[in-house]
Symmetry: none
Subunit: 394 residues, 2 copies
Amino acid sequence: MDLASLATGTGSRILLVVIDGLGGLADREHGTELEEAATPNLNRLASEGVTGLLEPVGPGITPGSGPGHLALFGYDPLEFVLGRGALSAAGLDVELHPGDVAARGNLCTLDADGTVVDRRAGRISDDEARRVVARLSEAVKGVEFHHEKGHRLLVVFRGEGLDPRIGDTDPQTTGVPPLEPRPLDPAAAPTAELVAAKLAEVHHALVGEPAANGLLLRGFDTHRELPPFGDRTGLRAAADAVYPMYRGIARLLGFEVLGPPVDLTDQVRLLEKHREDADYFFVHVKDADAAGEDGDRAAKIAAIERVDEAIPDLLAALQPGVIAVTGDHATPSQMAAHSWHPVPVVVHGPRCGRDDTDRFGERWCRAGGLGIRPSVQLLPILMANAGHLAKYGA
Amino acid sequence: MDLASLATGTGSRILLVVIDGLGGLADREHGTELEEAATPNLNRLASEGVTGLLEPVGPGITPGSGPGHLALFGYDPLEFVLGRGALSAAGLDVELHPGDVAARGNLCTLDADGTVVDRRAGRISDDEARRVVARLSEAVKGVEFHHEKGHRLLVVFRGEGLDPRIGDTDPQTTGVPPLEPRPLDPAAAPTAELVAAKLAEVHHALVGEPAANGLLLRGFDTHRELPPFGDRTGLRAAADAVYPMYRGIARLLGFEVLGPPVDLTDQVRLLEKHREDADYFFVHVKDADAAGEDGDRAAKIAAIERVDEAIPDLLAALQPGVIAVTGDHATPSQMAAHSWHPVPVVVHGPRCGRDDTDRFGERWCRAGGLGIRPSVQLLPILMANAGHLAKYGA
């Protein structure tokens, strides 16, 4: 569906609040984190609005952050593909050119045998990580290291004709050594050799570091072009996100990227300041996902409750015609990882209709007016509710 | 979605129990057969797992057995097409070559006017049918007759350039004569003439038979190639089915075909014996469909209850990580035929989540956590639940 061809050019403001990793997993002992969180403001939206469940990529498919967000922005994530390297680069305002290759780097802790014992270098502080990244930039030439946040950095191999078809070196588990950078296509063999040589220099340079003595790479990618969100929808979009990667994906799609804000309070302030500057506002909040990935159920519940508390402020700041709250994927704390489980969504606005659901949570949203549907269907529903879509056909 | 590209190569065993024709039709007097059956074991799975409804081919579309099973195995039945002749041939280990044409044959009873009075020749015994098939093989040359089960046989026309686009001669009802084999494309006219000539010989040869004095043909088809299940999923699959046609479709997809077993008890034994030999086990049970086609409501309920009783044994034999129970289509006894009605499904495993449904049956599954969805979506959900799918995208 070509939404831009139906764009009215009028309509009210849309606020999309993405609680990263919102979805959970109910088991014998517990409901999902959202079901057990105290969320009076989200419950009010659910009670007055319509609810449902979203499947970001497809049934059974566990989405990465890229596909999860592309889907919410109306891009079919099976059609549009983004590597994490390209996302991180965009988030850091590091421009990639055709021929360059970028990857997400995670500082990690290796033991004496070279086995990964902590994939996040003990949740290293930003200050410490910046010091380590400076040390790498000094010691290893021909590669760019850009600190992102915590243990995360962006690693860029600049070159002519480098090939991003390289397998991750991040083994995604502990107790094993990092993987070798493996070419996924014969044409990528020279790039894989270059990456292996540079990683050897990296590990040499980090000898003696107490926590961050290793580097894992994943999501090798190169420059990508995506059709701008504005061309596809007729909407001016703005992104209000603390984490670089989410600003990055928004920038790749041509959103105006606000701030950067430092926290949720700052995000509220930015919304108020830029209220008139866009039609579609994307607010991203990371903490629930981080807590889920840590397997910390209580922290995930608390993170959800903090977003709930901010809902009145977000609404007052932006005064949107339509608000939707959902997640980009599930991150059940029992799994300490992203998962394929459907994610609850609530849509609230004067024309959203009503269902019998009056609490925001998976088991209640399941019976909601939106049903279970692909995340990519959310955008046109929001546009319609906000009056941005004209009639199709005579 | 290319599931094989996400295959983890690890994960627990999956058990798919297909109760053929499981779905039913609730009316003013009755719930569906499943709703009225006593199914304590299936109810326990529903209570602990998640439930939903599956549409095998599409809304309003009544599936044959081929499309119903292809969908459950993750093959879009509108993209992948299999005639019954090709299925039966595969089930009997009869190899078809390009240029051959095969059809399902049903021995039937004709009255003196040549009108069909029983489409199943009085549910003829296997022994009797084998005698009739031997008589046909003796009398009619240039055609192969392979007995399948009961009144069913496989009829193969060997040749150069035969064309399978021939209409069924089975009128699908009684009180009318068999249809003429009609070419569905002008290019199939010579094949249609050959079929008509051979059917005349068949009916001549069967003069004097008390029950099986006619032969109805349907599902003309030729050799087909389907992409192997293992290539599409990374899973080793095994089929545990009494009826040849279901072993046949599994063999066409590259499943290991166990046995053949003679009954459900034997199927349990095979599961235990081959527990380590595959990742994905397909158990097929026919009786509910046969009873539904006979319009025998009580027999269909009893057939469902027999599967319910076997559930603990199936689980003990295989010890799967994930079990799903569903049907390939509905066969409401009020209709004495396949139908388009959605089919209940239950998925049970440690990460399946939970819904509020605690009985297995259409009216309760409708509110379940899986929603109403195409049958083709079941496979990735099972793979995800069993840990066979990695994350998609960074």
